[in-house]
Amino acid sequence: MGRTLAEKVWDDHVVRRAEGEPDLLFIDLHLLHEVTSPQAFDGLRLAGRPVRRTDLTIATEDHNTPTLDIDKPIADPVSRVQLETLRRNAAEFGVRIHSLGDVEQGVVHVVGPQLGLTQPGMTVVCGDSHTSTHGAFGALAFGIGTSQVEHVLATQTLPLAPFRTMAITVEGELPEGVTAKDLILAVIAKIGTGGGQGYVLEYRGSAIRSLSMEARMTVCNMSIEAGARAGMIAPDETTFEYLKGRPHAPQGEDWDAAVEYWRTLGTDEDAVFDHEILIDASELTPFVTWGTNPGQGAPLGSAVPNPEDFADPQERLAAENALAYMGLEAGTPLREVAVDAVFVGSCTNGRIEDLRAAAAILEGRRIADGVRMLVVPGSVRVALQAVEEGLDKVFTAAGAEWRHAGCSMCLGMNPDQLAPGERCASTSNRNFEGRQGKGGRTHLVSPQVAAATAVLGRLAAPADLVSTNVAVEA
């Protein structure tokens, strides 16, 4: 019987298979950041163990890094200690690190792919749930806990329980103005935040094939929000095109050998998935969340749902609580929801295409009075590219703040936070209570919706701007 993409990658990494034991899998790439690695390094130190494969390990600083005044000492002592600890550990164990101020620094899931370190058919792990991002290349990539981080550092392997496979097939063409973010938000709303539990999702179909690499990363990034172990997309010409010439992409004969191997990875025609979901791309519209989990989303053109309409008592209760926290009335059209802040960034939507999309909408416009907009590139490379293209000027001319690279307001571990009660349209991936700051209210949106929302001061799609074209008088 044929095998799926995920099964092929798994099989190619089995170091040891024994009756009654989980498979021991080899890990091709281990990404580290400052939050989940300190205890793992300390465990190595206590046991007197080295890092087995420093040549398959790379660290970057992202969660705690400030996005302003990056040349000044970090004010928050906890953030400072975490960053300093990572630097010390990297030096002591011989791990490559990209610290604040380094040209390769950035959000770990933006940095890996842009260096060309993430490639098809690899196993990629990181002590961070959004490691699923790397699945966009046809890699089996998943987040791990701190004791697993230590295990990988010491052995470059992980004993892993088997997974089930789910195909999410999206056929047809995405309508104008509908993005990868809308697609994945719609998928999560459809299968629920627990719908992917125990599964590795494979996104397939013509709509997925036509996505750029960066858009594919947006989709795979949020697999975790559906509860999945990982999300994957079969590598194809788009993947190879993206990788070619990147610093760590294979070269010469190695490139040919790699591409030949990568071409064999796609799911076989006679492979069987444990579960299948079909989505018609042409029916998708801009999508936003109204609640406090990523599954509580709806088309922008609809209204805040009425908890009464949920048949499941748990869901009804969750909706009631969400509306109370979000300060929303059932039945309010989502387009009438006014925001205080807009955040463009994160490992979901902090890449150059995302910034271009937002800038294209802001060009020649001003953001609404009273709205604060933060644009935070996912990495220093993204920032440099944006500056080269003049996007930073577009943002600042529109009244937005152009910041340094990092996770920033995606989780507010640094000073970039919402005040209690503030409402934000955010291109990040989690709208949990307090995620962007205590009492903050988050609506997950695409970069396009974020930009249009900033201009109108209420949730909006770019199409809404045509009629209200507020050109700036120079």
Binding site: L29, D42, Q119, A154, P159
Partner: protein, 198 residues
């Protein structure tokens, strides 16, 4: 991880049930970046009270905690286990542990022993009246012994084997180091490396 075969030591009788992990180690200790040095946070709130049993001079150097039922409930923080170990405990006896806490403890080499509540009661009475009374936790024979008490306990064979040999997950994997090396030898040349930095 240290081997656990048999351990004998004085005890701290903790007559409280439902001791959750936030009481064992409060959340603000989670900001630490090491696996050691959590002893100061163990039962931090209770230790502010001078009469709390852990603070009494006759309990200093005790290594066996005899706790009430439902020990270790709440958040899954592994720090709770580290705090108990850093403080010097080798074993915790209770009639019921929270699952995640138990899993974490056995992974880290802290032996959690389940005994019937009436046996726990007898150990409490014994160690309360005589702070110098010793308790022996014998993993080889799966038995707890103290003056007037001999009680057998159950423990999964595999877990017992790991504790007896001092094997944590990493040591177990490293026993198959030859498999890892053999796999590494066959990895294709085109797979990327992070070093050296070009």
């Amino acid at each position: 991880m240290e081997k656990f075969t048999t351990h004998t030591g004085r005890a701290v009788p903790l007559r409280r049930s439902n001791v959750d992990t936030d009481q064992i180690i409060p959340a603000h200790w989670l900001k630490k970046v090491t696996r050691s040095g959590f002893e100061g946070g163990l039962f931090e709130a209770w230790r502010k009270d001078e009469s709390f049993i852990l603070n009494r001079p006759e309990r200093q150097g005790a290594t066996v905690l005899v706790a009430g039922p439902e020990f270790g409930t709440g958040s899954s923080r592994e720090h709770a286990v580290w705090a108990l170990q850093n403080y010097g405990f080798h074993a915790v006896i209770s009639s019921r542990f929270a699952d995640i806490f138990r899993g974490n403890s056995l992974k880290n080499g802290l032996l959690t022993v389940v005994l019937p509540q009436e046996t726990v009661e007898r150990l409490w009475v014994l160690t309360e009246s005589d702070p110098s009374a010793e308790i022996t936790v014998d993993l080889e024979n799966r038995e707890v012994r103290a003056e007037g008490v001999t009680a057998s306990f159950e423990l999964d064979d595999n877990v017992r084997w790991r504790l007896l040999n001092g094997l944590d997950d990493i040591s177990i994997t490293l026993q198959n180091e030859a498999d890892i090396a053999a796999y590494e030898a066959t990895r294709p040349a085109f797979k990327p490396r992070t070093l050296p930095v070009s």
